[in-house]
């Protein structure tokens, strides 16, 4: 008798999409402005690649391409963690210092084998990432403030631990340098590792409850709480992941350079934020993707490669990079409005 509010299998007349939303602008012609805005970062990367290959015959060589990619992996891994944080409507300024700390620890424990050395580095990232998360959730600190404090604190740790000088790995084993310097076929190992992390992090974001909750918390924290989502736990996990990924980048750094530098990873946080923003993830939370960030990383990496090939000084390069970052955010604002 009573008809329950439950989806009937034959759900009556099909819902016609509301004419207001379904309709399109110009019947058959593609809206070019819209297309350009939507895919601006893909196009930017293509333009850079095409221009570069025209300007420099060396550019398209396998060797150059893989060198660029290998150079981009460390910031790339940090940027993926940063994407999680920014999607969650946070920010993590401490990652650069965590890279340095992990690299120093990994280098200093090299004698115990890469397994133990790397584990110690990763644990340092996990512990300090956890501390970030706890400060933000339990002490209700703004992410900017909590991670700014951690950035300075962790860099301090590195200097205290290294006494301000390089920790050089004596006689690094092949096992120690494998992660940073070896090749699988023509592909550098760190590039392979980066692709694996990319895939894993994208899958987690898309296909796990945890991943979807990152978006929900970032989009509206109060709504997430009222929907029964454990907001604090979600945030803590996100900062832990950011910390561990930063530490992993540090492990790769130590393996590649066989040195733990006290200044290692400095300014990584800003490159990671830049790549994330260029990739279309917004500070408002809940909008963006890891794929976009990877695109952002590639754009920045290839751009500076091209400029290097053209013998443009690093100082002038900064001018261009600054413009591009701001431009990318302007375009992503347009995209939101479309």
């Amino acid at each position: 008798m009573t008809q329950h509010i439950q989806p009937a299998k034959s759900s009556g007349p099909d819902l016609a999409p509301s004419s207001k939303m379904g309709a399109q602008t110009g019947a058959s012609s593609i809206n070019w402005t819209r297309f350009l805005v939507q895919y601006s970062n893909v196009l930017a990367l293509i333009v850079i690649l095409v221009v570069a290959s025209l300007l420099s015959p060396y550019f398209l060589s396998t060797r150059n391409i893989f060198n660029v990619l290998r150079g981009a992996t460390m910031v790339g891994i940090v940027a993926i963690g940063m994407t999680y944080v920014i999607l969650n409507r946070g920010i993590d300024l401490s990652v650069g210092s965590l890279v340095g700390l992990s690299a120093a620890l990994t280098a200093s424990f090299a004698d115990y084998g890469i397994g133990i050395a790397a584990s110690i580095g990763l644990v340092s990232g996990l512990v300090l990432g956890l501390a970030n998360g706890l400060m933000i959730t339990k002490l209700r600190l703004q992410p900017f403030i909590a991670t700014l404090g951690m950035m300075i604190f962790a860099r301090g740790l590195v200097f205290v631990y290294t006494n301000g000088s390089n920790i050089v790995v004596d006689k690094p084993t092949d096992a120690f340098t494998w992660l940073g310097s070896a090749y699988i076929g023509p592909v550098p190992v760190p590039v392979v590792v980066f692709v694996l992390i990319w895939a894993l992090c994208a899958l987690v974001l898309r296909y796990t409850v945890f991943g979807r909750e990152i978006f929900a918390v970032g989009a509206n924290e109060e709504a997430a709480r009222l929907s029964g989502i454990n907001v604090d736990r979600n945030k803590i996990r996100v900062y832990c992941i950011s910390g561990v990924l930063a530490a992993f980048a540090g492990v790769i750094m130590a393996s590649r350079l066989t040195v733990g530098e006290p200044n290692g990873g400095t300014l990584f946080e800003l490159d990671a934020i830049a790549a994330t923003l260029i990739g279309g993830t917004t500070f408002d939370g809940g909008v963006g993707s890891v794929h976009g960030t990877v695109l952002g990383v590639l754009i920045l990496a290839f751009l500076s490669n091209v400029l290097n090939l053209l013998n443009i000084s690093p100082y002038s390069q900064m001018l261009l990079k600054g413009v591009i970052i701001v431009l990318a955010v302007v375009v992503s604002e347009w995209r939101k409005r479309k």
């Binding site: 939303m21 709480r225 029964g228 809940g286």
Partner: protein, 504 residues
């Protein structure tokens, strides 16, 4: 009315957005010192028209004629300079700044040195505050103002620009009856001094109190215009909806079962010693003035805010609810008063529908996408949610459809009791009756609903029992069929307040 040359004529205004004709040759005039009500369902074109009048949008065709002169408003500031201003439903103020700065922002008086002439600023502000009936110190910050005071402050700001036409957008949505009376008094005073108003509201009763003429928009066209003396509420509703709604509320006759929720002496910030019980199959209304503690009580029960003492039993067993997740686990949901507290704006409709019940479509933390899509699709159909697809960002849906998505979220979850706070605020008439039907259906399915509302007809029309709150306490309970606006009001009004401040 309004003399030979009206103050404002919006002449044959048309405006299209990709795929939709938002306004189709709409003509509205406002005479000097006149209050013209603009009504219509959400999406009828009211806000588009007002955005054109305020320089936020440009019309595709048509003219804005002010005092017989065709003008164009490229920006809101241009409109303001010509004496047209807008008072928003929830005014955006610079809270940490002083009241004077908020009122005079953009043209603070300066001394000869170019610094702000604070003495003069505060004096001007004091005079403007007096005109809108606010007794506030201009030097203090705007932080602790109520929504009513903020609206009046915006009117003062409009007066500071010598505004001659003020648009009031749903001004009474969050006001108490007494505050509404104050607002109307101010509007009448200003009207007498020649200021005109365009008044947008979903509360048809208010229109008959305050407006002289009313224009009805539907689907971007003006479908009717009349002086209020020559129309009535039923006629306006028919014109807005394009059909006779008949009885707005579903028939009652629901049969209550065993208790789901028992509250005993619950006390927290904003409510004291509240005890009541809700049974299966019931819709229990909670009425009361704004600020009576209804929302605070709901949030306390739900674990969204801490409670100080008292006990809650769910299905007869004592329950400790310290977090919304605890309440949800016990089968209780709360739908917030402000819809924005429930929505994930940039996320897809399907995320919004399924976010509270991951267990229905995931195992070991991994989402089974197909199962999730099926759930979303089914409930979009079952609740008649109008969206082009389940992937549509929810921010693009109308208020009514957004509200249905939030309701769907809890039906998917399978909760037993839904605390529904202001279920139809800012929702158009058609969507309202759909929400009422869904609430009734839930109760008939053996669930229970606590319905908190400031719209008295809604509480009376929907509830089997009405609990009335007054200053944080439960001042009484009225059986649904015995409840009248008078009997509820008698309990809702503070005993020392004269009853003239009645519900709108």
């Amino acid at each position: 009315m309004g003399g030979p040359i009206p103050l404002l004529r919006l002449k044959e205004i048309s405006k299209s957005f990709p795929g939709v004709r938002a306004l189709d040759s709409v003509d509205v005039t406002v005479g000097e010192g006149e209050v013209v009500a603009l009504i219509g369902e959400n999406g009828a074109g009211k806000s588009t028209l007002m955005k054109i009048l305020n320089g936020i949008y440009q019309p595709d065709s048509g003219e804005i004629i002010l005092n017989g002169e065709t003008v164009s408003f490229p920006t809101p500031h241009a409109a303001l300079e010509r004496g047209v201003s807008m008072v928003h439903q929830e005014p955006k103020l610079c809270l940490p700044l002083s009241i004077s700065e908020n009122v005079l922002i953009g043209h603070l008086p300066k001394t000869r040195l170019g610094t702000v002439d604070w003495g003069k600023a505060h004096a001007i502000t004091r005079e403007l505050l007096r005109r809108v009936g606010l007794r506030l110190e201009p030097k203090t910050t705007a932080e602790h103002l109520s929504i009513a005071e903020r609206q009046l402050l915006q009117i003062a700001k409009a007066l500071a620009f010598n505004s001659r036409l003020i648009v009031l957008d749903e001004p009474t949505a969050s006001l108490t009856p007494v505050e509404v009376d104050v607002l109307f008094g101010i509007v009448r005073d200003l009207q007498a001094s020649g200021v005109s108003f365009i008044y947008i509201s979903h509360h048809l009763d208010e229109i008959f109190q305050i407006a002289q003429r009313v224009a009805v928009l539907k689907d971007g066209r003006k479908v009717a215009e009349a002086t209020v003396a020559h129309t009535n509420k039923a006629e306006l509703v028919t014109q807005m909806v394009g059909r006779d709604l008949g009885n707005r509320f579903p028939a009652k006759g629901r049969v209550p079962g065993e208790p789901i929720l028992e509250v005993e002496g619950l006390t927290g910030r904003g409510f004291r010693d509240v005890s009541f019980m809700v049974r299966r199959g019931e819709v229990v209304g909670i009425a009361g003035l704004v600020g009576a503690g209804r929302t605070e009580l709901a949030r306390g029960i739900y674990g969204a805010d801490p409670v100080q003492r008292g006990a809650v039993k769910v299905h007869g067993k004592p329950a400790r609810i310290r977090h919304p997740a605890d309440a949800i686990a016990l089968g209780i949901a709360y739908i917030a008063e402000d819809r924005r507290d429930g929505l994930f704006m940039p996320l897809a409709v399907k995320e919004n529908i399924t976010c509270a019940a991951p267990e229905k479509f995931s195992s070991g933390g991994m989402i089974r996408e197909r199962a999730r899509n099926a759930i979303a699709k089914d409930y979009i159909g079952a609740l008649n949610i109008r969206t082009p697809s389940a992937e549509q960002p929810i921010q693009l849906l109308s208020g009514g459809n957004q509200q249905k998505c939030i309701l769907a979220r809890w039906i998917v979850k399978g909760v037993e009791l839904i605390i529904f706070d202001e279920p139809t605020r800012g929702i158009d008439v058609g969507a309202k009756s759909e929400i009422y039907r869904l609430v009734d259906q839930l109760a008939r399915d053996g669930k229970a609903v606590i319905l908190i509302s400031s719209e008295l007809p809604e509480v009376l029309g929907m509830s089997d029992r009405v609990l009335v709150m007054e200053r944080g306490r439960l001042s009484g309970e009225v059986a649904g069929d015995a409840a009248t606006e008078e009997s509820v009001l008698a309990l809702a009004l503070p005993s020392n307040t004269p009853a003239q401040g009645a519900y709108p």
